[in-house]
Symmetry: D2
Subunit: 406 residues, 4 copies
């Protein structure tokens, strides 16, 4: 802050308005200033300010996820910060409508001045992608360049390096999901139950009708449909297949984490899963909005330069068009989760055992007593059960530890 | 649905598109159809469809609140439905921008045909207000008419009657807030602690500086400021004063419920208060958006008819202008809550006792044991403590019942 | 721009990203940084950046209006820049939804650090109001202060002074409207014709039905309604009354300019009035959105501080609430224009004479030929006639001069 | 309208609210109603209502374009109706955010009931595409079906047939653009001048630097760039190439119409081109928003059903994903126009001759007089000249006829 000597802090000091409003220098400033360049600058600058805010929120959320034992009292904080990111992205998506009031001919007037300067060089946008979890190997090259090659100053390179080395939100989500209660073999064993349910559902809903069908042509079609659906589910039920998709980059989460996401989605009404479900939804929202942002960007570029070569030297439109694919969705798996939902009537019913552990409200006096009078050696310190998660490297394999979520 | 004989269900059948698209009859249809009347009708009809959706959501939320023991697993449902109402209202606020493309002169062309028809006669909007909790006595008369007088058919009158007689969301919120854990005398006694904190804060922050001040003029100003702030807090600390505001209609919630809202706001980071805090925020959002909707409506009317008399015979603009006041905010108290927040450092620290009851995660093994081995007579069956609420008319005054929240 | 030595211009240099992202210093930065302060700063800074853009557009529009001879080829430019301002304000209105994710308790944590800093001190917002045309005498005092008293540095004071002394958009609009073709006595004499039309309309639509009515009570009501409507129209038909409203600040435009606005609204379908009508609509849009912006601001403040005293020392909520009135609408008259529209069937029909002058399309082949054979030596004078306007005080009353518009 | 006997028209009667609110029948209504189905229905129904409005506007715009002599006084009407369509589409794009609050699991609960019903069967959406000008041959098959095969009732089939046979907005735009003044050989001969300008620009900006370059590698790169740019321009300068693109469906407009669009874009500041330029911009906006609508739809479908087979039997996500391509943009050429803009300094300067014809403001006093002395008997022909356009098949080639635009 630039508080003036002796004076009380003013609005202008606090917000550094002078300095802020001194950052707009038109490249066309000399003899032929182009009116619309002002809008071009302001729009990009507000984007950069909001990106700073988004990074600030994401960093804080990542930090909360990174604490070895996630303090459950922080879940509301995580939710409200992710929600804020969602609100910001809604604005940023709309903001293109303003820049679209610039006309291509105006842009052409100062575009030459920008030389090689290009949005491809926005450091914050790269940091944002990396911190969310866009994978290096999924990136499309732009103008035969890797994006990192455009950043040559030490500070930028360090920030980029850090964004790649510190765990992305995707990685942190994965670790967190892998600890979802309900996945443990000896308590609920969700995965085994889910497999059975899926098979029952496929059998009853798709296979049995095939068998009853007499018309050979229809029979064939129905059989093909059954087979297709079965193959789809196989891609997660069969871990080898699952991992093949991971290797190809078509799935991001570990199989264990994927299971966790599925448990939360299916049983989101359990109090214990309410907030985790909100987290998953918000992350999907963010990914969806970021993709919409990319798409609106493409539309803008097509309007402004058509198929001309971009200022960065590439055919900007083609490059940007390519980034709208699923490859750039960090949380693609959450998007695709719905492929693997099965109707409620087929869902594995919860056991009293798991219910008790998952529902914060289901403890009857007897159960409470059971808990406390129960042998410490097995039902365990309820503290662990509910209090949070073991550190990721916690070697304890006691059953009770397994029920931990965060 | 209007499925055609023998055919499989189609999109058109399912959504009754034919019927829906048959509901637009221009009053100017005869010799001189006015183009813009079509927009006028469609806009109002989409408003009515969305109002139906909002009422549908509010009714379901009210029902959930009305169950004698609120199943905690329903909190996520409440939150997601209220959030949906928020999203709908965001759209409805924006929707006025479309109707603003109608010009006053176009409106004038068919306005005469509308006779006495007026938005004042929207049944669903009245139901919405009543179900949220806008008070009958707060309403402003329109054209010397009470709004109910315009509905003469039996069905409408019954629906209105029901909307007034069944508990509004405000009333249900009040009952729920009155059961907020932490308010009980014998466990935490929040209110007493809060009073002490407020006084200490006023004393240290506002009164002591006055005493140190030597300049008489400044001293006077500062004293006035202290007094003003003190009076503000008195309006809630002194129950008689509080109730006077309630009688005047300037406050809506009972004193007990207001305490509950304050507890939740101050300690929202406690896991137990996370979701209740989300509920309070969403209700404030809804009230805020509804007021913005009203305001955008006023702006539209001013553009379309200026200060002319409305189709309903009133000076529409003046009437609508008057409804933007706080009198029409059902959750006004939630809006004003911030007046009574005090800095975190002055907040009454939670006791182990209350923390244990409020934080689902704070139970140590020892505490667990304490719980179960503790005397039933006071710390009570944890089932009641956490599981739900007594029925509203529950006469039981046992201490353990007091700790109940939902 | 901060181009680094020798290197080609980069995105970061061009947009001065480093400097921009160095402007966020949390007042709570020391021992207890408050997370949400970051959002508070970023939101205000993006507001200031957009205000700069809005001022940039308004200044350019004012300049175009200020040229003694408005080059008609600039009308599209004016329209597209005003439209841009509309798009920006739509965004700014929505932007409050992001700041609303800050909770009152978070705000309370750093609010004390802001001392007397307050949005009341935003220089750009004052410039914006002044340049649009909010009148000094309409302003409400805040904390017994005039807004100018908070700006003590020379540069700010000069900018304010200039914003008051150079003609506001309202004043420029007025001058432009006063030259609307059709107002001249000797060509069309719109005002006289309009008076006759209004009287005929009042007579036929409102008075004659009164005379036919036999029920005395109804007769009385109808008579009162007629009288009320007549009084309303008198407020513009009677110039003395009109000027009284102007003196009271309830009307802003001169009577002549008001006539011009009415002509354009009634005959907007004439090619010559198409774009002027778009200008009037856009100015109304801007005023409407600015008021919605104010209203959303009020809602935010109420949520954040309730009825507490604002950082500037005033009861912020009460002050802001007061600025939502019509007193702060620069283009109030355009809003109220619709009061004085009359149905198309009563509108004074255009004469061939005025039509020819107003319609760019009335040239016959012969006229075309006449055109091409016209002597070049006199084509110079065409500049005055159509290319622009005579200076406001132009005494020339030649018929051809009358066709002047902008 | 359903006015009740004897009663004055009410809001409910006028808007047919009862009937409207009777169109929501949940497929899950029986034993296990699924709460979220209500939202699903309401959202689709509001989409259908808005589609009706959009079709209503587009039909009226098409009608205005179809009149053999386009009354110039209708341009404002066209602009304001297209602008309304833009505002509506902005809302429709946002509306997906509401449906996204439905969760996949909820959808799964009633999805089975929908049988083969699918958005693919929305008649209005097909009409919309056809009336805008999406080409039959560009459409992607869905589930090996042509979209028309799903409509079996006579009325739907007739509406579809008509939407294909009556000229689309694209066709009408083409006819209109082909008559753009400035294209005629004998007056301005824009195309010839443009060719020269392009060649000069390519030569000076891209070829000459190549020749000066000494480094062989760089020389090669620069030469390649020059060649690429030259090829791009060749695709319009060489009519045969242009037509090849048209045949491939990669361009939509005739070469002549494309020239017209280019003239308007380059000289949009001329008063005569102001409004045509607004028309082109609005059509681009509509296409852009429709594509964003499609994209948001895809995102929604991916969230709801992942890669499951759609209700219509297809893999809905894949099909919808494919419709986001340029093939579905009716006004693709307007999007790509910017490819062929050249800097203002290279633009062919306007001749006095063409300026006079294009500027509505170039009449000198003498010309005015000429006008007024023009014989009325011939003013009839003025209709053809300026009041509108000759019928497309008008054989008259008189010079003055050439000045015709709309």
């Amino acid at each position: 802050m630039e508080r003036k000597n002796g004076n009380p802090l003013s609005y202008g000091d606090y917000l550094q308005v002078q300095k802020l409003l001194n950052c707009q220098t038109l490249s066309s400033a000399g003899d032929k200033p182009v009116h619309d360049e002002h809008l071009f600058i302001i729009t990009h600058q507000t984007y950069e300010l909001w990106f700073k805010q988004v990074l600030f929120e994401l960093d804080s959320v990542r930090e909360l996820f990174m604490t070895p034992v996630l303090d459950e009292s922080k879940t509301l904080v995580i939710i409200s910060r992710l929600n804020r990111v969602v609100q910001i992205f809604r604005l940023l998506v709309d903001q293109f409508l303003i820049l679209e009031t610039m006309t291509p001919l105006d842009f052409l007037e100062f575009r030459g001045n920008l030389e090689k300067a290009s949005g491809f060089q926005s450091l914050q946008f790269r940091l944002l992608e990396n911190k969310l979890g866009v994978k290096e190997e999924s990136r499309i090259k732009y103008n035969q360049q890797h994006y990192q090659s455009v950043f040559s100053d030490t500070k930028s390179m360090e920030l980029l390096k850090d964004s790649l080395e510190s765990p992305s939100l995707l990685i942190l989500l994965q670790r967190w999901l892998e600890r979802t209660p309900g996945l443990e073999d000896n308590v609920f064993n969700f995965w085994k139950k889910y497999q059975i349910s899926v098979n029952r559902w496929l059998e009853e809903k798709l296979l049995q009708p095939v068998e009853k069908e007499t018309d050979p042509k229809r029979k064939e079609t129905m059989m093909a449909e059954y087979q297709k659906e079965k193959d789809t589910f196989d891609s997660i039920l069969n871990i080898d297949k699952y991992n093949m998709y991971v290797e190809r980059g078509e799935r991001r989460l570990s199989h264990k984490a994927f299971q966790g996401a599925l448990v939360i989605s299916l049983y989101r009404d359990l109090p214990r899963f309410n907030q985790p479900f909100q987290v998953l939804t918000l992350l999907t929202d963010i990914d969806s909005l970021l993709t919409k942002w990319r798409y609106n960007h493409v539309m803008l570029v097509q309007r402004m330069i058509g198929s001309k070569v971009g200022t960065g030297g590439s055919s900007g439109y083609q490059y940007l068009r390519a980034t709208i694919s699923d490859r750039y969705k960090a949380f693609l798996d959450l998007f695709n989760l719905s492929t693997f939902l099965i109707p409620r009537e087929y869902q594995p019913p919860l056991t009293t055992n798991i219910k008790r552990r998952l529902s914060i409200l289901s403890l009857s006096k007897q159960e409470e007593e059971g808990v406390s009078s129960g042998s410490d050696s097995n039902s365990g310190s309820s503290a662990d059960v509910v209090d949070g998660s073991p550190a990721p490297d916690d070697g304890d394999t006691g059953a009770n530890k397994k029920v931990v979520f965060e």
